[in-house]
Amino acid sequence: MTVSRFALTMCAALALGACTSADRFGEDAGGFGADGAGGIAGSVSDPTSPAYFNQTVGDRVLFAVDQSVLTPVSQSTLDAQALWLAQNPDYSALIEGHADEQGTREYNIALGERRAEAVRTYLVTRGVAPGRLRTISYGKERPIEVCSDESCYAQNRRSVTVLAAGAGV
């Protein structure tokens, strides 16, 4: 995780238009959003920082069991994400879809993709250029909570909008 954060910070610092290394979209890129990223990506008090996006705007939305429907709460989070992305055009985003462990592996990959796409579609309707958004599904491979009851499952059924430097294509 340290490596990918470093790579992402580097990309940001150099203001590369297309930082498309594997690190940017690598499997560990999720750690950036998933951890809230603390002070790594700027200060929370700086509204143009990824840290502000992750913690104050909110980088994730949650889903019901086997669903990809966006709740009103999710929509309001995504409205704020869209606004932030409009105000910070130097970032693109990778939208990660995740599922809880209560499902088969392949289906959960497809379900995670459906969730990520629901978020991408919504952000596009709120004015984010499609070229700034990509999706990926991790299925049930990257839980953030590890218990085996609904309190954890609810947190794992998520989509995380992971910022990357670069305005996209």
């Binding site: 086997d66 088969t104 592996r105 392949e106 289906y107 990959i109 497809a110 459906r114 085996s148």
Partner: protein
């Protein structure tokens, strides 16, 4: 590795001492054996001193293979009335009948001066008082002693059950290490019984669901190496891999070979919609087989290559469907309570194995290819992803335990639901795929 069936061992015409059964010894696996049949795997005779260790080890593996099926019980040597000291000696049937041995396996092992291992065996039906098939002899290098043992056990199993064996086979799977929220995965391959583990990848990227080619020399799998899940083909011998269906956008996953080994079926996600495609490995040509807005994934070919079974949530929940190898209108075959996924067609063509999720529990089950005669074989917090033994009579699958320290392990069960047991692995393991019987 070259296998030589050096010779069929001649044996004098048997004298039938008693006929207490109407026919030869035969176990029908599908009937679900309740009580293991007692047999005697007599310690294989070392025919020269250099073969001592091999004789002992081969005997142990033959016994473990046979008793591991749950169909047999190996009578301990301490109970023998007569010892086997000469491979060619006349069998004293009354001595074996007296200890209720239904079958006797006699073996001999030689290590030649040029380092070749030669192992031979004979199988006797004690109650019929005659040999069951001819004596056979196998030869190979000393590093192949396990395979020699598995081949002998396959012969014994096959002669008694009438089914093909499955012991001389391998399993490719995913080795898992690290905590649940930072799991590391890498591809591994081992003998069916957990021996001879080798790794086929590092654990830098997530790898999922390896699948053997029909000839067992190649493996399909899904890796996040590019950052996105993509399907790859790997040569088991050289461990060289190549990415299939290369594309800038989208995800590919859940690949499986067609029986011809030249076509791959898999899932591809595009704009949030997952459908089934097939890829011609020679030409690289991709053909879309489904186009519904629902999730279509986990495709598996019938052994004759004419049909594909897969899962879809087009009805509103995960269910199993079959369709022509060229796509077209699918037929739903699962109609019970709950959700059905990961269907896999038996290599014999008679059953489809699946994962079922119902009322908070997971099951491995089998059904006829039209969906009838559904039978659940297991139940746990999380069972998934069955794979067939090469003879279509045993399934291996992933069982994951619950909780923060939960870990996956490999388990096997026979199609009558009996003999559920853990397959030994040194670390946590998931996504097994059983090879065909080795050549």
């Amino acid at each position: 590795m070259k296998w030589f069936l050096v010779l069929v061992l001649a044996l004098a015409a048997p004298v039938t001492l008693a006929q207490e059964r109407s026919g030869p010894l035969r176990i029908e696996i599908t009937e679900g054996v309740i009580e293991p049949v007692p047999i005697a795997v007599a310690p294989f005779i070392a025919e020269n001193a250099a073969a001592n260790d091999f004789a002992r080890q081969i005997t142990a593996v033959v016994s473990a293979d046979l008793t591991g099926t749950g169909l047999f019980r190996d009578i301990p040597q301490s109970a023998y009335i007569s010892q086997v000291t000469d491979f060619d000696a006349q069998v004293q049937y009354p001595d074996w009948r007296a200890i209720n041995a239904e079958a006797l396996v006699v073996g001999g092992v030689t290590l030649t001066s040029d380092g070749r291992l030669i192992a031979k065996f004979r199988l006797f039906d004690i109650f019929s008082g005659q040999p069951l098939g001819e004596g056979l002899q196998f030869a190979g290098g000393t590093d192949s002693w396990r395979r020699v043992a598995h081949k002998i056990a396959d012969q014994v199993y096959s002669r008694i059950t009438g089914e093909d064996g499955y012991f001389d086979s391998r399993v490719v799977y995913v080795e898992e290490t690290g905590p649940k929220n930072d799991r590391r995965k890498r591809l591994a391959i081992m003998d069916y019984d957990g021996a001879n583990v080798q790794f086929l990848s590092d654990n830098a990227s997530i790898v999922l669901a390896p699948r053997f080619s029909p000839t067992g020399d190649r493996v399909l799998f899904t890796s996040y190496e590019t950052g996105f899940p993509q399907i790859y083909e790997l040569s088991v011998g050289t461990v060289v891999k190549r990415q299939l269906d290369v594309q800038a956008e989208g995800m590919t996953f859940a690949p499986r070979y067609a029986p011809n080994g030249r076509t791959v079926v898999y899932s591809r996600s595009d704009a949030g919609n997952t459908d089934i495609y097939k890829l011609d490995l020679g030409s690289g040509q991709r053909t879309r087989l489904t186009s519904a807005p629902s999730i279509e994934t986990a495709p598996s070919f019938s052994p004759d290559g004419s049909r594909i079974v897969f899962e879809s949530d087009r009805s509103g929940s995960q269910q199993i469907y079959t369709m022509s190898m060229d796509g077209g209108e699918p037929t739903r075959i699962s109609f019970g309570q709950g959700r059905y996924g990961t269907p896999v067609w038996s290599p014999r063509g008679d059953f489809i194995a699946f994962t079922k999720q119902n009322a908070g529990r997971f099951h491995i089950g089998v059904m006829r290819t039209d969906g009838s005669q559904e039978r659940l074989l297991t139940a746990s917090f999380l069972d998934e992803g069955p794979t067939w033994a090469p003879n279509g009579r045993v399934l291996m699958f992933t069982r994951e335990s619950a909780g923060a320290d939960g870990q996956p392990a490999l388990f096997s069960v026979d199609i009558s639901g009996r003999n559920l047991k853990r397959v030994p692995t040194a670390t946590a393991a998931s996504d097994p795929a059983w090879s065909p019987l080795l050549p």
